[in-house]
Amino acid sequence: MPPLCEVDDVKVHFALRGSAAWLRTLRDGKPPVVRAVDGVSIDIEAGSTLGLVGESGCGKSTVARALVRLVRPTAGHIRFEGAELTGLSDQDFNEVRPHLQMVFQDPAASLNPRLSVRRMVEEPLKLHSALGAAERKERGEAVLEEVGLGAELADRYPHELSGGQCQRVNIARALVTNPRLIVLDEPTSALDVSLRARVILLLEELRQSHGLSYLFISHDLATVRYLASRVAVMYLGVIVEEATTAELFDRPAHPYTRALLAAVPVPDPDAKRDPFVLSGEIPSPIDIPAGCRLRARCPFAQPVCAEPVPYREVAPGHFAACHLV
């Protein structure tokens, strides 16, 4: 069975503008480009959660935005339920939208302050279904109920809601058209810790009851570990490692993954830790080093790391892009 959603070698490049970009064009002989996503391939299986982790600026949100067509990929293919999405006209893509939804990072900022909860949750139905006003109201309230919001909140406005309630409204809006896949772009990072757990539990419950699939983007490894069945690690626009959650957390292969895992605080002073830190900062996505992109920061770097990196299977179902594993 083919995966629900295939992202196949997708690239998203942004051209730089302005006088500085013009000067660089003169110097380098070609216009400068931000390679935000530089050849990402991931598969999302139906009914499962793929975690996508990486530090800020690595391009994980851009992958999400490309999936729901907030940005157009520069190259590559996205297939959803076997159908090619990349070539679709905006009109045809609208047919897919009810099945492919997204929840954004900032719960309050992703709600229109001038619309009531009810109008926001019913909006997708208005756009994509033939339901009448009464049926929309019924469906809207049912979904609000499902995400743990009472009908009495339906007439409130976003500024009258707490952060957790806002995020529940966002989830309800994404859920109301019965989608197959929901892209979750750091849905919990703006919430405080106590709410985070509740939202995570809610998401997992909804996934099981609706047979949903998630692309769960986060830099919070603990929540990824809980929610995801597979995890892909992204660094500077590419996937450097992908494996099942247990495999990745127990036997990380790529030095970058090991560094990420080592950075997670463990609530046990005697725990043995991978004493592992990367030096320096993430390079600019304009000047991406040739060969392994981690080379300049990696403590194991060898001369061979300047060569193009193969992405290979290091164990069954466990892929990594490193010369040294």
């Binding site: 900022a109 992703s110 302050p113 001038r114 909006e123 756009l127 009495e152 707490s162």
Partner: protein, 297 residues
């Protein structure tokens, strides 16, 4: 538990909640209340001028010229014996109509073009904004003078001149707001849900861009009134015998030296009070429409 269970509050229709908030604000801010009252009073007087004005505005009375304010003529009479109060009330019709009309026209045109510039960006925006810059290069009053001088000074042309000079203000304001709001997450969310472009504009962007525009429009009302009075004062606005505050002030100014002070004082006072009221309302609207100021004061 704060997340899930809040005590259910009695559901309120949003409009009545807003109205009550406005009312509470006005009670605390008596200056705006007075300003609002003055504007409403003047509008009512203008609308029902036929019943309220004690005399016909253009009826001359050779037996009662240049009368000091008295019980018969509350604000006195002019050199033709016309009742000043009646003329001021009738003048409010022209003045307020032009001020409202010019502001409304500038608002609609400015918002429409500004929204287009904000939506399409790029070359469209560039062309529109350079046109706006060239309009703004003229001092607004000189431009209004030139337009009325060129087109002839009917009420319609004065309205057109004032509104033309104001369009750039709204245009720039709404364009900036659209630029800001189109990058907000809720605009992205609206796109992901599958809103067509017109819904994104009219449901998700414009309503959120409006508060500063409303404030600008209220403040601009005062400005429009002042421009019109100034145009009439120098003879480029409304022509006599049609009464208008600016031209009445101009007529009255000739009599300052001979001591008939009421002739310029009262029309001038009408202008000052109305402009002041619009500015006060604009200021408190600004506070009111800023969500961060909710619940303050």
């Amino acid at each position: 538990m704060t997340d899930v269970t809040r005590p259910p509050i009695a559901p309120l229709a949003p409009t009545s909640a807003t109205l009550r908030l406005v009312w509470r604000r006005l009670q605390r801010n008596w200056l705006s209340a007075i300003a609002l009252g003055l504007i409403v009073m003047m509008m009512l007087a203008a609308a029902f001028a036929g019943w309220i004005a004690p005399y016909e505005p253009d009826a001359t009375d050779a037996a009662a010229t240049l009368q000091v304010p008295s019980l018969h003529h509350w604000l006195g009479t002019d050199i033709y014996g016309r009742d000043l109060l009646s003329r001021i009330i009738y003048a409010a019709r022209v003045d307020l109509t032009v001020a409202f009309g010019a502001t409304a026209m500038a608002l609609v045109i400015g918002c429409a073009i500004g929204a287009v510039a904000g939506l399409y960006r790029g070359i469209v925006d560039l062309i529109i904004m350079r046109c706006v810059d060239s309009v703004m290069a003229f001092p607004a009053f000189i431009l209004a003078m030139a337009i009325t001088a060129a087109l002839g000074n009917s009420v319609g042309n004065v309205l057109l001149a004032i509104s033309l000079t104001q369009i750039p203000n709204y245009l720039r304001l709404i364009r900036g707001e659209i630029f800001r709001i189109r990058e907000m997450e809720y605009a992205d969310a609206a796109r992901v849900v599958g809103n067509p472009a017109w819904r994104i504009m009219f449901i998700h962007l414009l309503p959120n861009a409006l508060p500063p525009i409303i404030v600008q429009a209220t403040l601009a009302m005062g400005y429009a009134l002042l421009t019109m009075a100034a145009l009439s004062f120098i003879g480029l606005g409304i022509q006599p015998p049609q009464s208008e505050w600016g031209s009445m002030t101009a007529e009255g100014a000739q009599f300052i030296v001979t001591g008939e002070w009421w002739l310029f004082l009262f029309p001038g006072l009408a202008i000052v009070l109305m402009v002041l009221s619009f500015n006060l309302i604009g200021d408190s609207l600004r506070d009111f429409l800023d969500p961060r100021m909710r619940g303050v004061r």
